[in-house]
Subunit: 372 residues, 2 copies
């Protein structure tokens, strides 16, 4: 390997496929989380859509998936082209720093000059070409020694996302739209969200990071030295016979911390972060109301249907998600959310979609873990 490779030839995608998606219960479960489901009606799961979007960038052999070991067979079944060399199985969920930095460390051992790009398995992006163009720009900027994020132009003053304050333009060849990042802002209250959107100076942080693996790991080493040391131990052993032993010994005590805190925020303070504004539309489909919006193309009188249910609807709108073959009849229910699975049924409204998470918390607390 040499540092003289073209930036895009150094690129390797990482798909952290984690998170349960509590707000999408009872469709999304611990055993079958959000990314394993078709939430767009595309006929493919979110993971498959993510994979297909990344393949054209650097090929199907340069995509690594990090997921829980309980999802191994489901992931391998959904992504036929994924080799086990490019599958990192976590023993238990340890948040995004462990997932992404371990992937970075494993890949850096294999290719010291690798530039990684991390893209969640459960987001929806519909314009693939614009996405790929943004990644190309980001890779060009990353090669100059930056951690690069792809920022989303806010479509509303959301309090559900973190924001990126955008600074001056960078001057990088092949990355005309790249800009400095002034700082990251955590999920704001509504008043501040409105100010951010009005100012035009902020983008949503969609958690996409493109950076040389070495640079990303330097940040982890600075902010979380113990975690860094553990992850490097695992990475050292990864492609050896010691993997299992080291993993089982080291994994349980890894610190859980989001990459926003361990890497993005301190790196931004150090002036090391850039952003490429997205020209594609992006959705995190965080709850059923978001899925309904996505499906209905903004038409309020639509009833979106996901799944193969026989549906009979009269004067009804909202979303119906079916994981059974039962007949479902709706009469006169507006903005309704009905999620029908073999062992659990949810009925709520788009207005209350966010409260599904609290319900899952109650189920956890009251010993209903059999249906979580």
């Amino acid at each position: 390997m040499s540092n003289n490779r073209a930036p895009i030839d150094r690129f390797f995608s990482v798909i952290p496929a984690g998170g349960i998606g509590s707000r999408l219960w009872p469709l999304s479960r611990a055993s079958a989380p959000k990314f394993l489901h078709d939430l767009t009606g595309s006929g493919q799961t979110l993971l498959q859509d993510t994979w297909d979007r990344l393949v054209p960038i650097a090929g199907k052999d340069r995509i690594l998936v990090v997921t829980g070991k309980v999802h191994k067979s489901a992931v391998l079944e959904q992504i036929e082209d994924l080799s086990t060399d490019n599958l990192v199985l976590e023993l238990s969920p340890k948040d995004s720093t462990a997932a992404i930095a371990l992937a970075a460390a494993i890949l850096m051992k294999r290719e010291p000059d690798v530039i990684i790009g991390s893209f969640a398995a459960d987001h929806v992006i519909t314009e693939d070409v614009a996405f790929q163009a943004a990644v190309h720009e980001a890779v060009a900027v990353a090669a100059t020694g930056k951690i690069v994020t792809i920022g989303i132009a806010p479509t509303e003053p959301s309090v559900g996302f973190g924001y990126i304050k955008v600074g001056e333009s960078l001057d990088v060849a092949r990355a005309p739209s790249a800009k400095h990042v002034v700082n990251f802002v955590e999920k704001p209250n509504m008043a501040n969200a409105r100010l951010y959107v009005q100012s035009g100076e902020y983008l949503w942080n969609a958690g996409m990071f493109i950076a040389p693996a070495s640079l990303l790991l330097q940040q982890v080493e600075k902010s979380e030295p113990a975690l860094y040391e553990s992850l490097m131990k695992i990475a050292d052993a990864w492609d050896t016979d010691d993997r299992k032993v080291v993993l089982e010994k080291t994994w349980p005590s890894l610190k859980k911390i989001a990459i926003d805190y361990s890497v993005a925020e301190p790196a931004a303070e150090a002036g090391l972060v850039a952003v490429v504004p997205a020209t594609f539309s992006w959705h995190d489909v965080g709850d059923f109301a978001a899925i309904a919006e996505l499906q209905s193309q903004g038409r309020r009188d639509n009833l979106a249907v996901l799944g193969n249910a026989r549906v009979l609807a009269d004067s009804s709108s909202g979303i119906l998600v079916s994981d059974t073959d039962r007949l479902i009849a709706l009469i006169g229910v507006e903005d309704i959310i009905v999620v029908d699975t073999p062992d659990a049924l949810l009925v709520t409204t788009k207005e209350h979609a966010q409260r599904v998470k609290s319900l899952v918390d109650v189920l956890k607390a009251t010993g209903h873990s059999d249906i979580l």
Copy 2:
């Protein structure tokens, strides 16, 4: 047998157990209609409640059930004390005149002076003692040569029931509250329903009729002579070896007509009908909204639950009927109706409860008879 028996010793109850209850789909089905379900949370089905209410009047050996032959085993299973001598099985539904007049004719062959009282299997009456007192009064009046109905004091200007215009008091010993019936009025429009209720001169017609079998059959003979002749042929053969042959030959062509038209209205015109005003509360639980009202005791913020579902409800009201063991979660849905059965799910609101029947009509028309 002699006409000198005391009126109450001549009494025999008839329970017409028919009707599908389309407005209660998908709980109520052709194969398991309304009367076979517990719709009150009493732990008994409506049929069992009706049976238990009638037993104290003349004993468990003087109650005859008329039902479809497809319900034979379900009815015998639910009513252990019912002997097959007192079970009349219809080959197909032929409306209330055929059901009640055939029962009257069979019983009259056995006891010429019998007084029958007909009480639907799928109505809800909570004050049994007051009900039994009303029947006793009605039997005393019937013994004077009247067809007697028990009228319900309207609690609202309903357009879902027929009305009885009440006349002068009768002067019958042991029936102090009995009155003449001026006439029956079919289901009115809202304006007329309001007038009826305001006037205080009208009662709801709950379809309860108490009369000497001979008098009731005379009315059928006058108004529907062909139907009368066919029913008498069947009754003549009933307690003989010819029952099956005569039934199969005669049944298919029986005219379908409600007993209101064949008996009640013409008899009222002839001055032959009396009414005993009920002092008990009565519900026909015609749709899920009615069941919700009954269950919630009028409290609008209540969520009524029928069945053994695990339910988790947050800020929800209405009714949830479960015929499965799935967990059902409701969040922020008000006046909702959720009916969960193994092969069909209904979600609607109390406001739209009456529209369930139209939905069943659509299902019929579109070839979904497997779930009707």
